[in-house]
Amino acid sequence: MMARYSSPGEPGTSDDEVIYIQRSLPPSNDGFRRRLGALLTVVLISFCLLLGRTWQLQVMQGEYFLRLSEQNRLRSLRTKSLRGKILDRHGSVLADNRTAFTLMAIPADLPPRDQLLPLLRTLNIDIDPETLRPRQRTAALKPVPIQRDFPRDQVAYFAEHRMDFPGMFIEVEPLRTYPYSTLAAHLLGYLGEINELQLQYGKDLGYYLGDLVGQAGLEQAFEDVLRGQPGLRQVEVDALGRETQVIAVRPATPGIDLVLTLDLPLQQLAERLLEGHSGSIVALDPRNGQILALASHPTFDPNAFVPRPSLATWRALSTDAHFPLHNRATQGQYPPGSVFKIVTALAALADGVVTPHTTVCCAGSYDYGEHTFRDWKPSGHGCLQLRQAITQSCDVYFYHVGQLLGVDRIAHYAQAFGLGQLTGFAAGMEKSGLVPSSLWKRRVRGQPWYAGETLSVAIGQGYTMTTPLQVANMLATLANGGTLYKTSIVLRQEMLHNPIPFATSPTVLHQLRVPPQYVTAVQQGLWSVVNDAKGTGKMARHDQIAIAGKTGTAQVVQLPEHHASPHRQEYLPEQYRHHAWFAAYAPFEAPQIAVVVMIEHAGKGGSQFAGYAKTLIEAYLRQSYPVAAVPLNTTKLTR
């Protein structure tokens, strides 16, 4: 090989001189230089391509990419506002905030699934990472909670090993606590994670995925007041989502405290009385429609919903045959039974169908057309006037006046007492009930009204449906002489203990235009129910306090439509017994409280529960309660 390049043996050469014997030809002899030129052209063209592309990215689309790089760099993080407290009228805190830690994640910054799973496992978190994957690319930068109420020892561990958990951070997020556990649970409601629909409506209000919002009760109805305004922290982050510097801060505004009209000791007493029953108790102030107590039983502990109910809890609550989540006081709709005779009586007097002295004789039944309508007392009440008819709750008397009145005049007065409509204390928390009329029947059922049906309506059966709250408001209207107030639950709103302007004067929904002597006549009837020897509500009688009231029995299974649809019976297997009502107010001369006790499937009428109303009225008017309410001990969050 060497020989091809040099020949060391040749004369004139030395070792340190290289001689090229046979060398390749210079490149000019072939097409090499031409091809070299072509190669140079290719290289220069590709350079132009690169420069052109860079020009396109930097100069033509520069602003677009600059915006994107800012989006990469800047994160707007919300600081949550402290939710407003809920207090009773004496200042006892019914719903409060406690310190809690939430493990958060920014989906875009999380490591891939195979790395994320062991990371989560070290924190004792067992969730599917898929649930953290954002649905849209734009959502990938918004933090979502991985686990709320993160245990303190785990928080400490996380804080020490923060760098091992890219895309995750700990947020101090106050969680709700209800110091009195089950007390007024239906009224207060609970929080839950925002759902898809709420998210759509709440987008403009700054709600994010994973936010806790009111899902029931006052928490839901007053969400906008309680929530406050979230703050904003604009920070610069690196590609791992770690903050490098804070750019701007706007502090959060705390939510507004709600001071309720609720009277805590009264509420607690009412709930104790309900123990062992399915039913509800409502107490109103007849002078202004303020709700003093609103109890429903069976009940639940809203603390079990913080931050979310366990599957077992939820299943137990939602499948319980007694529907503990159901707010019977405002959403339970029942026939009012004999309590409705108040309406019938006043309608009859006001429309001149009878006078207080008109006498009707009762033989235990009333024949109308082809039907015979029975009185609750088969032997009959004898001949009686309005006052005795109310006192003894004589059905035949009211069959008679009802038949004289007709359904539409009854309906008119029922509406004047607030039946068949919302009482209005909070949005979305109550049912409106039903006041039947001929018009209603034609519209909804497509049938004419049969005069016989009026008789059922006159004694509070038939199609009529009421909620305990409506009945309480009806009684309050009678007690105050005919003014129908809108019920209210919020006494005032406070921001850091300073009241904020809020319309607190009672709203009048309707004013009954009836000669006062007729109202007095009905009121006196109610007084006799409790205080007369033959009265059905004798158990409510009190030595010092003048109590007026009315018993009621709501028949469930003998309603015509229940006969008509057999599957309805299946749906209510054990519910063959009647509901019991007792509605009362006191003191008789200057009423301060109206109470309704409603017990489902009590079997007998409301007479046996009249004592409950007496207990409540006595305790409220004397402000002496058998037991004092004790809140649960929890770590409270102070501002």
Binding site: M1, M2, Y5, D16, E17, V18, I19, Y20, Q22, R23, S24, L25, P26, P27, N29, D30, G31, F32, R33, R35, L36, L39, L40, V43, L44, S46, F47, L49, L50, L51, R53, T54, W55, L57, Q58, V59, Q61, G62, E63, Y64, F65, L66, L68, S69, E70, N72, R73, A108, R137, A140, E236, V237, D238, A239, L240, T244
Partner: protein, 374 residues
């Protein structure tokens, strides 16, 4: 060995000046890209300076030996190259799933880098021997041997896997074959063969992640959080630089780690983000000057061997520049490939200087043979 005085007078200042200018730009950018806001510079730029020193030393070492002599020993070098590649495959260190590194005490060598200069020498040697006059174009029969010469290291490097380096080797082979000259019908036949072999290469040669990268490039709506993340962040970095850039030490994409591999493969994006289109233009001009200078050397080379060596070096530089920048601007799929003289990394830098040494070698010896015209 004698050192001709004419070598000093013909010293190739051009190559040295252009490459050092690029290095200077690179050091500034490395300083900027690897400085932490809280901790200050990382020291990588100092290390790169060290590598530059080593590169210059090896460049001068290569200069001292006539490229003819180097070619004479090309096959020995080739044997050594194969040996080192086998050793890497057997004992190499695995980084990011690829076995590329040979650990020798404090030194971590990427021996595949050596394949570039060695193969340039081997191919130059082979083609000067087999087509000494250049009068007859190559036919199909002349191709198997050079293909085998490149194929062996190519296979070993693919196995690591290091697709990008292997690809550069293949491009060097193709360009050198084309430069030597190829029969027209052979060219046509090869073209058809290549077109036919593409699908096979797709399914057999490529790994899943490589296929994904290629598909990402074709897909107009890539998964920006998954496979397309690097390409997208790189484009954001470049685009956000605008005409004048965000300023040194102020590139948010690179400094907040949105840009992957910012000091190595994506250094161009750092340049574009911090110094803007103006900086890009400067770098491209420097690269352009270096390449055009290299082309002149090939053009004016004393002999065919020198011309082939110079062409090989220029091709290697041009291919790497095009693929690297093309990848950062989103014209080419993401392949791990350093930008010559710019990216951080000792093996690549020293190898580049070695190749530049070859280029200068050819330039400086172009007058030596003039006393003995053939």
């Amino acid at each position: 060995m004698a050192f001709d005085r004419r070598l000093a007078t013909n010293f190739d200042w051009g190559t040295l000046a252009f490459s050092l200018a690029i290095i200077a730009l690179s050091i500034v950018l490395l300083y900027s890209a690897t400085s932490e806001r809280s901790e200050g510079p990382s020291g990588m730029h100092v290390k790169q300076l060290l590598w530059t020193g080593m590169g210059l030393v090896s460049m001068f070492a290569v200069l001292c030996i006539d490229y003819q002599t180097l070619c004479r020993h090309a096959y020995v070098l080739y044997g050594a190259l194969l040996l080192s590649l086998v050793i890497v495959l057997l004992f190499g260190r695995v980084v990011h799933g690829a076995q590329r590194w040979l650990v020798l005490g404090p030194w971590h060598l990427q021996t595949s880098e050596l394949a570039k200069p060695v193969l340039i020498l081997v191919l130059a040697r082979y083609f000067t021997e087999h087509t000494p006059t250049g009068a007859t174009p190559l036919t199909l029969r002349d191709l198997p041997l050079p293909l085998l010469l490149v194929g062996l290291p190519f296979g070993l490097i693919i196995k690591q896997p290091n697709l990008s380096t292997a690809m550069v080797l293949m491009v060097i082979l193709c360009v050198m074959v084309l430069m030597v000259g190829l029969q027209r019908k052979t060219l046509l036949a090869l073209f058809l063969l290549g077109a036919g072999a593409l699908p096979a290469a797709w399914s057999l040669l490529l790994k899943d992640y490589q296929r994904e990268r290629l598909l990402t490039l074709l897909n107009p709506q890539p998964d920006l959080l998954g496979a397309g993340y690097h390409s997208w962040q790189s484009k954001i970095a470049i685009g956000s630089g605008g005409l004048w850039g965000k300023g040194l030490l102020a590139g948010t994409q690179s400094r907040l780690s949105f840009l992957p591999e910012r000091h190595t493969d994506f250094i161009f994006a750092v340049l574009a983000e911090e110094v803007g289109f103006v900086g890009v233009l400067l770098l491209m001009c420097l690269f352009g000057c270096l390449l055009v200078h290299g082309f002149t050397i090939a053009y004016r080379s004393r002999d065919r061997m020198g011309a082939l060596i110079a062409t090989g070096v220029v091709t290697m530089l041009a291919v790497q520049i095009f693929l690297n920048i093309g990848m950062t601007v989103g014209l080419v799929p993401i392949i791990g490939l350093p930008l010559p003289l710019m990216s951080y990394g000792g093996s690549s830098l020293v190898m580049t200087f070695l190749c530049l040494g070859l280029l200068m070698n050819v330039r400086m010896r172009r007058f030596q043979g003039s006393a003995f015209p053939s």
